[in-house]
Amino acid sequence: MSKKMINLTIDGKAVSVPEGATLLDAAKQEKVKIPTLCYHEDLCIAGNCRVCVVEVEGWRVLPASCATPAMEGMVVYTNSPLVRRARKDVLALLISEHSTQCTTCYRSTNCELQDLASEYNIDNEIYINLLKDKNFTIDKSSWAIEKDESKCIRCQRCVRTCAELQKVNALDVINKGADMKIATFFDTVMSDVVCTNCGQCINHCPTGALTERRYIDEIWEAIGDPKKHVVVQTAPAVRVALGEMLGYEPGARVTGKMVTALKHLGFDSVLDTDFSADLTIMEEAYELLDRLKRKLVDGEDVSIPMMTSCSPGWIKFIEHMYPDHLGNLSTCKSPQQMFGAIAKTYYAKKRKIDPKDLVVVSVMPCSAKKYEAKRTEMNDSGFQDVDMVVTTRELGHMIRQSGINFKEIPDSEYDKFMGESSGAAVIFGATGGVMEAALRTAYEVITGREIPFDGLNVTPVRGMEGIKDASVKLENVLPEYSFLEGIEVRVAVAHGLTNAAQIMDDVSIGESPYHFIEVMACPGGCIGGGGQPIPTNEEIRKKRAEAIYTEDEKKTIRKSHENPEVIQLYKDFLGKPLGEVSHHLLHTKYTRRERV
C-alpha cells in the first residue's frame, strides 16, 4: 500500500512526500505557509491566481505551487527575493482591479485578499486603478445572495463550487481578456437564473464579492419597535459554529451563551428551531408510514422513495433539475417554516399576542433559508410565516455590534412553548441527522421498541462520505403496522448537490432501491451551510459535526416523539400528525421550474 516517496529540497531542507503531492502540500508538511487565493481544499486545482508561486532551481519560470507536483530532486525556494517580488506584484495587480473600500466591506477582517495585502505591505499606488473604467455592478436582485463585481478577483472558486460541489453551474466565466468576469448565464441577474441560493459560493469566496443579502438593520429596527413582539429561532447547526465568529476554535459548543446573547440583543423570546425539527420528525415519520401503507396495502400509486424537504437549496435544485419528481419530496415544510407557522398561530395564542405584531426572526446556517422564507406559499398562518432570516455570520456581527463580551457571559435556557428539543433534533445540523432522527422515531412507532443501535446512535448514516446508505429490518412489528413485518427498510443520505444528483439519476430511471432518502444541499449538511463562518472546510466541518453529536449525547431526551412541548402542541392544537391542522400549517407543495 505504501506510496512511492519523492525526495526534494524545500528552503534548504530535505523533504520526502508521497508521489502526487504538490509543492504546496510538501510545504504544508514542513509547516511552511505559502499564500494562496484560488486554492481551496474542497475544490479542484485551478492555478490561476499565481500568488502561490515558488522558485525551482533550473526552471525558467516560477511555477504555481498548488498546481505543480513534487518531482524527484527538485530544489524549491518558497521565500526567495524573486518569489517575494513576484507575489507582491501579483497582489498589487489584483488590488488594482479590486474595490479596496475595505472599511465598508462586509468581509473586512475576514478577507483572504486583505490579509495578504497586509502581509505583503502592498502599496495601492503602484499600478493604475482599473476600476474607474469598468462598469462594475452590484447585483442585489436575489433574496439570498449579493454579487459585487468590483470585489471579485476572478479566482473562480465560486465557479468551481457551483459546478463541482453543487452541479448547478449558475456561475461561470464570461468574456476574455480585460473583460473576463464571473457571471450568470447571459449575465442575467441572480434572481432570474437557476440558482439554489445554497450560498456555497459565498462560503468559498475569498473576498466580499459574494455575500449573503443582509437583514441586520431590519432586525434591529423590529427589536427597537415597542409594538412588536420579536421572537428568534436558532437552527441546530448555528450553536456549533457561531463561536468561530466570536473568538472560539471550530467545534466549540456555545448554545447557552448564544441564548444569553440573543436575550441581550433584545429579542422578546428566544426559541429553538430544534423544537420544530422534532415536530418535523413527527410529521415526516408518519408521512413515510402513510406512504408505505398506501403503496403496500392500498396499492396506490405513491412516490417512493420519499425524500426529505428540510433543505431549501435542495428543494430549489429538484424543482429546477428534476421537476418530474416533486412527488417524491416529503410535503413537510422545513423546521424553519414549521416554526414560523406555529409561532404565528399557536405561540401567538398562548402568549396572547396579535400575530400581526409578532415578528419571527430565524438564525440559520444557510442563505437559501432567506429565499425559503419569502416563498409566496409560506404564509399559512395568514401572515408571512418567517419575517427575516439571518445567517450565523450575521448573528456574529450583531453580537459584536451589541458590545457583549461573548466569552464571558453565562449560559441561559431557551424560552417556553417552542424552546424544548430532543437530541434527535439537534443532529438535523449534520448530514444524516434527519435520517437518524426519523429512524429513532419511526422504528419505535412501528415496533414499540427503541431502534437497535448502541446508544440510539445510527452510525451508518453519520460521517462525511458523499452518499451513505443503511438498512433496518422490521420484525415483531405492532399489529397496526403488520404490513411492514419482515421488510428491510433501505435508506440513503446524500449531501452536496452533486451527490444528490447522482441519487436522483437513479430515481429518475426508476432504479433507486431506497424507501427514504435524506438530502442536504451543502457538504456536511447544515454545519457546512452557506451561511456558516468562513472558512469552512472538511476539517472544520468534521469538528462542527462532532460538536453536534456531543450536543445530542448530552440531551436527556433523545427522541423527537418524547419532546414534551411537541406532545403538548399536538394535545392543545394540532391533534395528531398529518391531521387537518398539520396539513394546513405544516405541509406544503412545490413548483415546477425551468432548467434555464
Binding site: 499565481r50 508561486v53 506584484d89 499600478y127 493604475i128 473583460d179
Partner: protein, 393 residues
C-alpha cells in the same frame, strides 16, 4: 557554426514526389525507426515554442491505452503569421501525411485539424483532400481518420492545452502543466499535438533522412522553416529559409533599405533594433553565441517612418483583449502595461514609470500560467528598452 548565407530551401511546398508515395514509403518503416529519425533530425516545433518533435511522439508512443489522438494545430493566430494557411491551401496532403505518421507511430486512430475560425474558406478544399486521404489510408490498411474542428476565434486557443479544452467544449483556457498532452491530452487521452508546418517537416524528414535535414541550420536549430515576411518590405510573402541566418542578412534580402527594427515572432516575440541586426540569429536559443531568437515564422519589418510606440500600443491592445483572462499576471498585467504606456505618453506618469512596467513585464514572464502570458513581456521589454525615447516623446 552558423552559416553565413541566407539560403532558400524547398521542402514544404515541393511537389517533386507524389505525396501518396512519400506516405506509403514512410509507413513501411518501423515505428521506432521513425521516432529515432525524427529525434536525430533535431526537428523542433515550428509553431514557435520549439519542443523536440521526435521526443513528443516518443512520449505519446510509450503511453499505454488504446485511445490516443493526433491534433494538427492550425489555429494560426500570431499577428504577422500566415504560413499555415498557405500550407493547408497548397499541400494539405503533406500535413495529413505527417498526421498519419504520428498516428501510425503512437497508435492513434483519430486525428483532428483544429482550423482557426478565420480560415473557414479552406473547409471545402480540405474536405476534398480528406476524402482522398481516407481512401489512401484504406489502401495502406492504416486505421486512421482525420476530422476538421473549427475554432471559435480566440488567440489563446493556439496554446495547445487551451486548444484541447476548446475541443472538449469548454472555455479555451490553458491547463496547468504538467501533465502534458502527450499523457493527458484530448479527453484525457495521450495526444500528439503539432503545428501544421511541423507535421510537414516530420513527413519530409522521413523521406529525405535526418542527415540531410541536419545538414541545414546549426546545432540545436537544424533544418529550415517557413517565414511570413511582412511590414516595410517590397517582398512580403512566405519564404522557406535555412535556420541560423542573421537579421542583417535577412534585412538585406527583404528590407526596403530603411529598416529600423524587426519584430521576430509576432506580437509575442522580440523586437530587434537595427544596431543588433548583425549579432542576432534566427533559431532556437542555446545553440549559438550572441542572440538567437526563435520564431513561429512571423517577421515584421519596420522602417524609420514607423512609431514604435504605436507598434507596441497595437500589440498591447491585442493582448489586453486576447488574454483568456484566467490568470492574474496576464489578465491584469496586460491592462496595466497598456494603460501604463498611455499614461507615460500623456505625461500623467513620469518616464520612470516605464521601469516599473518593465519589472511588471518580467513578473508576467515569470508567473503567468501559459506561454501567452509569459511572452507578452517579450515584445514589451524589447520595444521599451530599445525605443525608450519613442515611448516618452
Amino acid at each position: 557554426m552558423a552559416k553565413q548565407k541566407l539560403k532558400r530551401v524547398d521542402l514544404i511546398f515541393s511537389q517533386e514526389c507524389s505525396c501518396k508515395d512519400i506516405i506509403s514509403a514512410a509507413l513501411q518503416k518501423p515505428k521506432e525507426e521513425i521516432v529515432k529519425e525524427l529525434i536525430d533530425s533535431g526537428l523542433k516545433g515550428r509553431g514557435g515554442a520549439g519542443f523536440p518533435t521526435g521526443l513528443k511522439w516518443k512520449m505519446a508512443m510509450q503511453e499505454k491505452g488504446n485511445k490516443k489522438y493526433v491534433i494538427c494545430n492550425a489555429d494560426e493566430g500570431e499577428p504577422g503569421t500566415f504560413k499555415d494557411r498557405e500550407i493547408l491551401d497548397r499541400v494539405a496532403t503533406k500535413v495529413l501525411g505527417g498526421m498519419a505518421l504520428a498516428g501510425y507511430v503512437t497508435g492513434a486512430r483519430e486525428g483532428f485539424i483544429y482550423l482557426r475560425h478565420e480560415y473557414k474558406f479552406l473547409i471545402p478544399k480540405l474536405e476534398k483532400v480528406l476524402e482522398k486521404f481516407h481512401i489512401w489510408m484504406d489502401d495502406f490498411d492504416l486505421d486512421f481518420k482525420v476530422k476538421l474542428f473549427i475554432g471559435g476565434g480566440a488567440y489563446v486557443c493556439g496554446e495547445e492545452t487551451a486548444l484541447i479544452e476548446s475541443m472538449e467544449g469548454k472555455r479555451g483556457e490553458p491547463r496547468n502543466k504538467p501533465p502534458y498532452p502527450s499523457s493527458d491530452g484530448y479527453l484525457g487521452k495521450p495526444t500528439v499535438i503539432n503545428n501544421v508546418e511541423t507535421l510537414v517537416y516530420a513527413l519530409m524528414i522521413i523521406r529525405i533522412g535526418a542527415d540531410k535535414f541536419k545538414s541545414m541550420g546549426f546545432e540545436g536549430s537544424t533544418g529550415s522553416k517557413l517565414f511570413s515576411v511582412s511590414g516595410d518590405t517590397p517582398k512580403a510573402g512566405i519564404y522557406e529559409l535555412e535556420l541560423g541566418m542573421t537579421l542583417d542578412e535577412f534585412v538585406k534580402e527583404f528590407g526596403d533599405g530603411d529598416a529600423k527594427a524587426v519584430q521576430v515572432g509576432g506580437a509575442s516575440g522580440f523586437c530587434v533594433p537595427r544596431k543588433r541586426f548583425a549579432e542576432t540569429h534566427i533559431g532556437y536559443q542555446g545553440g549559438l553565441k550572441g542572440f538567437s531568437l526563435p520564431t513561429g515564422g512571423s517577421m515584421m519589418i519596420f522602417n524609420s517612418s514607423r512609431s514604435m510606440y504605436n507598434v507596441l500600443h497595437n500589440y498591447l491592445e491585442f493582448f489586453e483583449e486576447e488574454s483568456c483572462g484566467q490568470c492574474t499576471p496576464c489578465r491584469v498585467g496586460c491592462q496595466q502595461l497598456l494603460k501604463g504606456v498611455e499614461a507615460v505618453k500623456r505625461g500623467e506618469k513620469s518616464q520612470k514609470y516605464l521601469n516599473d512596467l518593465l519589472r511588471l513585464a518580467e513578473t508576467m514572464q515569470l508567473t503567468a500560467k501559459c506561454g501567452l502570458g509569459q511572452s507578452v513581456g517579450n515584445s514589451f521589454s524589447s520595444i521599451v528598452e530599445n525605443f525608450r525615447e519613442e515611448m516618452i516623446y
